[in-house]
């Protein structure tokens, strides 16, 4: 096989080669996105207030504390997976992110199911409007971190845009749900399941399409 066409291509690619600025490390970008979430969450909690029993809630691994931890893991895992999907050669990091997100979500769902089974009756202290409120807070707080992921990815190299935006949306909404739970004092299992633990799924449904549009426009520009 003649190498001439390939060599011509190589000559074309190497002529007038412009230097490029490598993208930041994944670790730094992930840290930046999580820092962004912390800032948004802090502002949100300043405006909405923090639940009075936050410390007690955090210290219950098989109660709200477990849901906090599970959602936090799901959030970090989802965002890391989304970032890694836009960098060639980082598939193992993306897989690790998906595993962390899955384990975190499964743990949170397990705790919620456990709490639900422990409830003496089906009466709850909240209704569907409270569920919607917490889901809305999750998506709103998660929006900026998700956009941060998209902006980085647009500069990098996206191979699976749909998987990327779904992971970013779900992960960001999970971190948003951590914020919602830091504000929402309700401990009834039904609300925890529908208003908090369900947030990553709802976030994926609500935010994925706008993020996909934003990603495509950012790449074009």
């Amino acid at each position: 096989m003649s190498d001439e066409p390939a060599q011509e291509l190589i000559d074309t690619l190497t002529s007038d080669l412009a230097p490029v600025e490598p993208i930041p490390s994944l670790r730094r970008v992930a840290g930046g996105v999580i820092a962004l979430w912390l800032v948004v969450a802090a502002i949100g909690l300043l405006l909405m207030g923090v639940r009075p029993d936050l410390l007690a809630a955090l210290s219950s691994p098989f109660g709200p504390g477990g849901i906090f931890a599970g959602l936090a893991a799901a959030g970090v895992g989802g965002l890391v997976a989304a970032l890694a999907l836009s960098v060639p050669g980082r598939e193992s990091t993306a897989r690790a992110g998906f595993v962390l997100a899955s384990v975190g979500l499964a743990y949170a769902a397990g705790v919620g199911t456990f709490l639900f089974s422990q409830s003496p009756s089906l009466t709850t202290t909240t209704d569907w409007t409270a569920d919607l409120r917490c889901l809305g807070i999750s998506c709103a707080v998660g929006l900026l971190p998700a956009v941060g992921v998209v902006l980085f990815s647009a500069r990098a190299q996206v191979f699976r845009p749909l998987a990327l935006v779904v992971a970013a949306a779900a992960g960001a909404a999970a971190l948003g749900a951590v914020t919602a739970q830091a504000n929402c004092p309700a401990n009834d299992a039904r609300h925890l399941m529908l208003g908090h633990i369900l947030a990553p799924g709802v976030g994926a449904l609500v935010l994925s399409l706008p993020l996909l549009v934003a990603l495509r426009r950012s790449r074009r520009s």
Partner: protein, 220 residues
């Protein structure tokens, strides 16, 4: 089969089928071989050339792409199996490496980065082929132009040019025909054939060179 030293100059071999061990004179125990450094040296060399290329060193970049090309071809051939498309996809990979070179970080190994780009180029090629097959199956058989002289515009070609076109490989002839006789744009022609625009340009480029060789430079 494993071989173990029983005493100096005497070893044993294990029959794979019967699992019986036999004493074999002159067989020495195999010492574990030292890890070859060639691959490590190559990986380090490529890594440093890529870092230099990011700084704008065209010479290092040229050496890197030249050495990467056989590796990329091997990866593409292993995944694609279709020899006709290996060269096109391999060159597409080089183009993608070029456009994505800012996503490589010098502290990371280069080969996983290259493999991901290669894998995705192969996946895209398979998708394009599937789309082209689906499109062609929707078109009536007699509408598919197979023989270039039957297409409009062919009566403007000289017999010598027609003979030269017929002598080209089918893929190159098709590319030249679509661009120069039918007058399609690169994107239109690429979509019809089911390959990327870059791959189509490469096929046409080879076709023009082939015609030049067949007809002599003064004909073009």
């Amino acid at each position: 089969m494993s071989c173990v030293a029983v005493s100096p100059g005497l070893g044993c071999a294990i029959d794979a089928q019967t699992r019986m061990a036999y004493l074999v004179p002159g067989v020495r125990r195999r010492e574990p071989m030292a890890e070859p450094t060639t691959q490590e040296e190559r990986a380090e060399r490529w890594r440093s050339w890529m870092a230099a290329a990011q700084r704008g060193d065209g010479e290092a970049y040229g050496r890197l792409l030249t050495e990467l090309l056989p590796f990329v071809r091997g990866e593409v051939r292993r995944r694609l199996g279709d020899d006709a498309a290996v060269e096109d996809v391999s060159q597409e990979v080089l183009i993608r490496i070029h456009t994505a070179r800012h996503t490589y970080r010098a502290e990371r190994p280069l080969l996983p980065w290259v493999r991901t780009i290669t894998r995705n180029a192969v996946i895209d090629q398979a998708r394009r082929r599937t789309r082209a097959l689906n499109r062609s199956s929707d078109v009536a058989p007699d509408a598919i132009a197979v023989d270039p002289p039957d297409l409009p515009g062919s009566d403007r070609l000289s017999p010598a040019l027609e003979r030269a076109l017929d002598a080209l490989p089918a893929a190159q002839r098709e590319a030249v025909w679509l661009l120069k006789v039918e007058g399609l744009t690169v994107n239109e022609a690429a979509e019809r054939v089911g390959i990327s625009g870059g791959a189509l340009k490469l096929r046409a480029h080879r076709g023009y060179r082939g015609l030049r060789d067949l007809l002599g430079r003064e004909m073009l």
